[in-house]
Symmetry: D2
Subunit: 447 residues, 4 copies
Amino acid sequence: MSFSPLDSDLLGPLFTTECMREVFSERRFLASMLRVEEALARAQAGVGLVHPDLPGAIANIDMQLLEPAALALQTRLAGVPAIPFVKVVQSALPPELAGGFHYGATTQDIVDTAAVLQFRAAIDLIEADLRTTIVALLRLAEKHCETPCVGRTASQHAAPITFGYKVAGWCVALADQLSLLGPLKRRVQVASLGGPVGTSAAMGEKADAVLAAFSADLGLTAPAIAWHTHRGRIAELGSWLAILLGCLAKMATDIVHLASTEVGEVSEPEAPGRGGSSAMPHKRNPIGSMIILSQHMAAGAHLSVLVTAMASAHERPVGAWHSEWMALPSLFGLAAGALHEASILSEGIEVREDRMMRNLQMTDGLIFSDAAMVRLAQHLGRAEAYAVVEGAVAQVLSVGGTLQGHLIERLPAYRDTIAFAFEYGLAVQASAARCRAAVQHARRQIE
Amino acid sequence: MSFSPLDSDLLGPLFTTECMREVFSERRFLASMLRVEEALARAQAGVGLVHPDLPGAIANIDMQLLEPAALALQTRLAGVPAIPFVKVVQSALPPELAGGFHYGATTQDIVDTAAVLQFRAAIDLIEADLRTTIVALLRLAEKHCETPCVGRTASQHAAPITFGYKVAGWCVALADQLSLLGPLKRRVQVASLGGPVGTSAAMGEKADAVLAAFSADLGLTAPAIAWHTHRGRIAELGSWLAILLGCLAKMATDIVHLASTEVGEVSEPEAPGRGGSSAMPHKRNPIGSMIILSQHMAAGAHLSVLVTAMASAHERPVGAWHSEWMALPSLFGLAAGALHEASILSEGIEVREDRMMRNLQMTDGLIFSDAAMVRLAQHLGRAEAYAVVEGAVAQVLSVGGTLQGHLIERLPAYRDTIAFAFEYGLAVQASAARCRAAVQHARRQIE
Amino acid sequence: MSFSPLDSDLLGPLFTTECMREVFSERRFLASMLRVEEALARAQAGVGLVHPDLPGAIANIDMQLLEPAALALQTRLAGVPAIPFVKVVQSALPPELAGGFHYGATTQDIVDTAAVLQFRAAIDLIEADLRTTIVALLRLAEKHCETPCVGRTASQHAAPITFGYKVAGWCVALADQLSLLGPLKRRVQVASLGGPVGTSAAMGEKADAVLAAFSADLGLTAPAIAWHTHRGRIAELGSWLAILLGCLAKMATDIVHLASTEVGEVSEPEAPGRGGSSAMPHKRNPIGSMIILSQHMAAGAHLSVLVTAMASAHERPVGAWHSEWMALPSLFGLAAGALHEASILSEGIEVREDRMMRNLQMTDGLIFSDAAMVRLAQHLGRAEAYAVVEGAVAQVLSVGGTLQGHLIERLPAYRDTIAFAFEYGLAVQASAARCRAAVQHARRQIE
Amino acid sequence: MSFSPLDSDLLGPLFTTECMREVFSERRFLASMLRVEEALARAQAGVGLVHPDLPGAIANIDMQLLEPAALALQTRLAGVPAIPFVKVVQSALPPELAGGFHYGATTQDIVDTAAVLQFRAAIDLIEADLRTTIVALLRLAEKHCETPCVGRTASQHAAPITFGYKVAGWCVALADQLSLLGPLKRRVQVASLGGPVGTSAAMGEKADAVLAAFSADLGLTAPAIAWHTHRGRIAELGSWLAILLGCLAKMATDIVHLASTEVGEVSEPEAPGRGGSSAMPHKRNPIGSMIILSQHMAAGAHLSVLVTAMASAHERPVGAWHSEWMALPSLFGLAAGALHEASILSEGIEVREDRMMRNLQMTDGLIFSDAAMVRLAQHLGRAEAYAVVEGAVAQVLSVGGTLQGHLIERLPAYRDTIAFAFEYGLAVQASAARCRAAVQHARRQIE
């Protein structure tokens, strides 16, 4: 345990991926800050604001100089990591170049732009895993397009569906999230360069040219105005990640229940040592889904911090900015971990068709009560049909027998109508139609 | 005080608008449910599933029958308002039509679609007020494009800006939110019609046609799959509202500080009785901003509920759906109220240019320390320039005098460079350039 | 739907109790404010600060004058309800008394003290329902102290317990909350009376005497210092309510799963119309638990608002105070509703001992794997025992048969040890011992 | 930047203390788990359940074997760190002892009890720093008991107070929190030992004796029943930490405003390099308060996770437990860091009495409007007094002059009454009385 399990050498691999840990490592952050300063120097050299050798000199700075722990004391004093960073780099540059370093920038410019570079890399990781997961789930949905299983509402058996239909729902939700990523990337991959109060005053009339070149060099967009204290897009990014965690949690909620002992319709993929218990050799715990659920429980809370932090004062905030650091990187870490679990589940989940059928049959036909009621209503009217079915249901529950039997006994004239309602075929057909349309829709959406 | 101040006859008008209260009234909700049932019946009559007279009969139901308090007891038993609603309507329909009422639908279909109709009306209200507010703020930004004022960072004077530049920042943030509304509307204005488990099984092969006609009748889109337990777009809508509250809170944070006694650069618009104190006749409290800030404090929390509620089980959830009702309507209520306050502020805020100038001058030139440092760095290098300025600053703080004076004393050779740095013109010019570009950008975005 | 379902005539009875709605009604709030002013006048008359007839005149004010909707417009202007309230009352008092009305008080004094009176009444309601619920659950625990059922961990069957043991856990948690209520009441039932900046300056040396008499008259404690901007105890109260909702949600989580179709070990109490479905006559949805779960999902979010609102500026806050109104009354409303559902569940939950036994047996002895492993470990060492049991478990899962059978086949020499491990008696005995001790503990705690 | 800044080598020292980082280090966690197993073995050896040499052998395990990164892969598979931990330790024990290791325990017993040991150490650290901070603030309050300064409400000047009175408010709030720590410690310093389903079935009749000895050995209390899924006290602990952060944020909110350029009444303690700006040599940013505010913004969100996680299923939860790890250690880290900043502030804050007086005088007497109104009301009645003062206030604001002058002009007969109202002495006296009483109260409370 460290403060966050995401950062723990012991627990980290349980909650996030190695790649994502690398993206949010301090080394990477410091390298990104240096890259940002280099881009700034290059843009400024291009318009003659700084010496043309400066960008190259920055690029050649030895990363060994930027040892996180060594910068920490000064960071603690200054309140931001950019101040000691600037000092160390400056002192490592040739004196004739040092004067132009960090020209016209403020610490938040460098830290925010470096963070955007990290976010871009992080989004790429998530996009790839999300696509893989959806593709695997689409295959799963197609495979089980016509596999009958219980549809459940409010924790109770409701009516038959197919397993593919259920999986198609997961696909549509995830593909929907993926479809938002293009516009979202354009909105958040924006550079920051405004100097102390965002006006780039130090660069005079060259400000726009520098901002354009700086942004282009980093593959980012130039902002319409400094966003030091306009953080809506940061909250948007957090919102997308939190909602992604929500989509994965919906899937995990389903799986945990389907994998429970009494239901037993699916199992998480087997892996040696996975899901065992220190005390109970027979356990096969749904670890993947469990981790996703635990991650989701923190998602809304982290997002709320980003919303609260939007009340930033004036040109640069008093604390609000720092509080983003406690939420957004964690959301990336959680989302990456949850997605990794989901991708494993989507590839390897074991489906027990026999158990699905057994569960469908366990209520002696009650699961067809809606179908029976709907069919009978066309002959008897809705109120009477409801009453008849309700009576027969009560009989099943009290004295046993099947719902179909009791209904035919009550309404022998409608024997065929009743029998028709108890066919799996209709439910399967409807579910499969919905499943196929949804799969097609999702496939289009992710292309 | 009721449970929520939004619903209070006493406090409601302080926190939200009359129009928004009407949209979320129970009457409106029940009328929307009836409208949804009518659309369903019409779509089903179109394909021969129900009697052609049914839609008309539904439209003619006397709303007096649907008395909220009368439905409440059954709602409490059933756990959802749609069940008693269906019973009451059904019993008011001619017996030969009643059988076809609510055919193939489930309660969540009706409630969710009715809610979407309310959301649509609510979004329209917000869109109009948001546009009005932005337009007024754009005028304000243009008017004060060159009005010098203090730029503040971390609660301290930093460097001069213009008031128009500050307002332009508010505009860009709000216009950015407005620009998201088009796509968002397309994403959330979606009908729900899937029956108990979302597969529309009762409608057999006519399901797609009914869903299409039903959605079209209501001016909504048909979903790719039932969204009973896929609630990402609901969370997205909440996120948009929460972020809007965040943008308004940023503006309110600035105003509260600018309106504070010592700063005194702006006042909220005067209105008889507004902002007074029961104890202190001289008070002119920034009530509008205060209300916005209080509303924003609840925004992130409400949003987090929507994210948490995404972990919905199977085909219809166990509680998660109900918890949305505790968050999303409140977010609409809060956003409407905050926007109303913001629109009043944007039209009538009083700007004190004299106080802005006085505050700029109160630090004896320290506010130009960045400008001085940047100019001197080009001659002395950044480190030396920083040290010289730092020394002169210390002198101002300890023994008085102006920063310009102390700098010239230390570096008489750079008298002109130094004098140049202390010109307001440069800061104003830079701020005005940013302001104009931002105003133009925002204007394009809201068109 | 209104903004909050708690306030809805339609949905309110589903989510909270009539008594709690009355406590938080506007009438009650206005009457409480008047009561507070009366107590203030009496305390001040006692030391000669105001006319001795004033308290009586205040007590005789016609509540009809204080029509919420009529006060609303001025409330909207003033930003707080106390300002128009003071004006209306003042104008209804005889001129010679009016001058002393509200003497030395500020709006927040009156509103906060009135709110505390409401909280006191609300806590009393909750305390009574909590006690009733615990007492009923204690009976349930005792009744099922030795009723064997499945113990579940990570959604899987783990080892046998008794149902009484499970219920005893709920009891201990709720009794623990109840035991905190005494100290909590002492901490929050505190009067507020400090005037504009909390120093009671207007009352000079009589301030302490007035504060003491005022507090005593209302049955409250005098604060150590004005708490206009020190809101820790408000957050504490919210925390207690949120944690109570958490305890109830734990119980509801268990019940929803136990009541699910496949598990079927309990049902929520039958009531005509309760838990039905508009589409499915056979459904018996666990509405009570579902409502509790939905309420709990909002609990943490509301609490977070109270924590965030603690950052109040100076002597009276800018928005933070208003935001409490969006959270604390709702927490009371939610807790009352959840507790009401819990009390119904605790009295009437139907327990199916046969289903409990059937579920225990459904895994062919796997549920005793821990017991077998522990017993064998004493002979074979933990590692070997684990390996043997793991092997036998795998055999049960792949080829069938019972765990006991496979173990005896592998270790015929330990036949007796093995047989011993598969006795329910041991698990029942252990569970019953824990259950009895816990019941005793909880009983002591609530006395 | 790592995922959490608390864990970052670069940013960690800015946000938390070295001591707290050590408490939550992985080494410490693993050592605590080992300590817990040792206590378990000793308790079991005492009743003859395991070999008497086992506790000693456990105590002698080489901590080098428990390398976090080496355990991580198995942790990832198992879903909890205790499973690989048990395996590694077991294989390092003499074979004849290994069989008794971890006897009758489940992973959650070990992890939760180890976490409680960490929490105890963490609480001790916080308690010490909290006491130090309060003591320093009490001194500050006493020192400035009679230092006049502006009382502010809703961001506006309201009436005079003393600085000591303001500080006394901070003291009372913090002392109040400290006074809760004794009972809270008793509630959370509880051992966990129940085995797989909490019933300690494997230990048969010796369970109680083992639990008692185990708890006593660790200096903890034995629980009334297993708390694997009853997490109210965990949420309580989080709530206490979040509210502590709230108290500190109140103080920081005041300081940030008092230290703002226009107000200038206090400065954070000077330290070389502290609060500087990379761009602006004159800045003296209130870093300490800023950090506290940023930490507080995350506090409510973390707490909400703990409340949400209370909905734990059955005997051991599915994800809820894991999500606690994302919130509670972070709250400790944040609280420690915020308290550290607060202790520095409390010792070294610089108070500018001259600026306080200057600000008091800047409104030409308006700050005495309440005092004047209250005094005049005794002669003229409240309504007339209010009107007169309001008129005079308007005159000050429009044409200048002092409030006292304008009032005397309007009411020459009340010259003395008016003059009396404008004496600082009364406000100072009242504030000082409140301050002294509060200091005394707080001092008693922390003894």
